[in-house]
Subunit: 296 residues, 2 copies
Amino acid sequence: MGAFMEPRIDLYLGDCKEILSEILDNSVDLIFTSPPYADQRKKTYGGIHPDQYVEWFLPISKQLFRVLKPTGTFVLNIKEKVLNGERHTYVIELILTMKKQGWLWTEEFIWHKKNCYPGKWPNRFRDSWERLLQFNKQRRFNMYQEEVMVPTGDWARSRLKNLSETDKKRDESKVGSGFGKNISNWLTREKAYPTNVIHLATECNNKKHSAAFPENLPEWFIKLFTKEGDVVLDPFMGSGTTNLIAKRMGRGTIGIEIVPEYYEMVRNQIKPGQLVLFDDKVKYGKSQKTRYCSVR
Amino acid sequence: MGAFMEPRIDLYLGDCKEILSEILDNSVDLIFTSPPYADQRKKTYGGIHPDQYVEWFLPISKQLFRVLKPTGTFVLNIKEKVLNGERHTYVIELILTMKKQGWLWTEEFIWHKKNCYPGKWPNRFRDSWERLLQFNKQRRFNMYQEEVMVPTGDWARSRLKNLSETDKKRDESKVGSGFGKNISNWLTREKAYPTNVIHLATECNNKKHSAAFPENLPEWFIKLFTKEGDVVLDPFMGSGTTNLIAKRMGRGTIGIEIVPEYYEMVRNQIKPGQLVLFDDKVKYGKSQKTRYCSVR
DNA sequence: GTTCCGCATGAATCGATAG
DNA sequence: ACTATCGATTCATGCGGAA
């Protein structure tokens, strides 16, 4: 054992509203999460009615405010659903209410989903975007803009866009066969800062679990708002995309998941050999057991 | 004079809050406008402070509600500015307040500006999108979706050759309760409906006006929400892009502009030969003169 | 080994029908 | 009247097997 320490990996099974209280003040650099949308995922999460969504989320965002470092960032992936022919207002109400909690609403990124859900209706088109709301505790926060710069020139951009993720990986694994090197050449040549619109397709192929977002999405924000060794929290872990990416990128990560099956799945997937399973512990007079996994 | 009548073109010089009261109830099919952004364009509009924006806009939106036909649509192009490192909340507050006026918030389109304003800041990227808020008076409104269809993506080529078993099965559920020939319709389809993300570059032809949008933007919404002979209103006419496009597309149009230079510019540009200049008339006990142009 | 092509499936929404 | 359920509608993408 040297002086170098692997970043922490802490996975919790339970309701994040309660689990979060176990996490220290000012200990997280980035919160990236996609909470269950209103009335969605009823089978697994029970479904929150749009009219009660703000009330439901507020105690959680309060805890998130506490655990986030002053220089940290909270990125919330969310989109309001249609109810009675109208966009519901719970998301914009949430913004207003979170501001009263002390959050600064720094920015709103747009995630443009190129392959959105199909369908046709007489009064609206397909919904192909979601909000990525950026909140902070302070006006000054950590941001590493150079890490997400993109190649300039349409030829490079379209070229990269046409390569599927799989193709990129394949080509990078091939030694000296061109693509890997070429890509890095493009990157070093002329780079531009991105904008607040992110174009990504949803990965609808994972059969085992429906990942809420593609890997590129958390990866982009982890690059932008953290450096190696920083800690990334996802209080609605789900299939663990955020945590797996964070680990791969040398960041520490904390994940909380209420559904045992998802929790177990991520636990098995995330460096199984190094996991240390702590004893179950009963929480503060509540009957719910908290299972807790940690890697150091 | 034959039975055919040219669509009306009515241009007003003055404050739209007052001018609007001259326009009849339920007489407009589409309102498309880009009001002066808060605290922006101070030179031309005097600048409304973000904190007073909602209060300033509300009497106007009330009038707009009155003049809009029940089947009509109001599209509001707007984006909140950054104040003290935060996105200001006047836009989302405006949505909530307009709902109390009776407006339905049907949809939020995203206008992705491909070539957005350059610049670099330590805490944010370039802003490359704006909101296009769709409001209606009723759940049922006129929408001509076929007018804005786009060519299908390349994926269709392979798809056309052979329909997957799953898609056949999905369609058969429909076949069971109705007619099955829709499958063949689907196969020959060459166009698809768009989504609620609109990609347009910000090419501003009218450089004299400070915040003109590209012609494609009003054109798209005029196609979508009106047919020939319908009436399009822009209460913040500016350089008159919306009105010029509406006229070109065979729609009637009403424009209101408070800055005389802009008003004159549009007046000279819009079929100057046919313009009839009415006498100046003093409005309802107010000292402000209203100049009014009309073509029939 | 590379390209091509079949295939499953998405944070959906509306209107009609049923309780 | 008001809510719950169900069928119908539709497009782009990555994966995996085939050529």
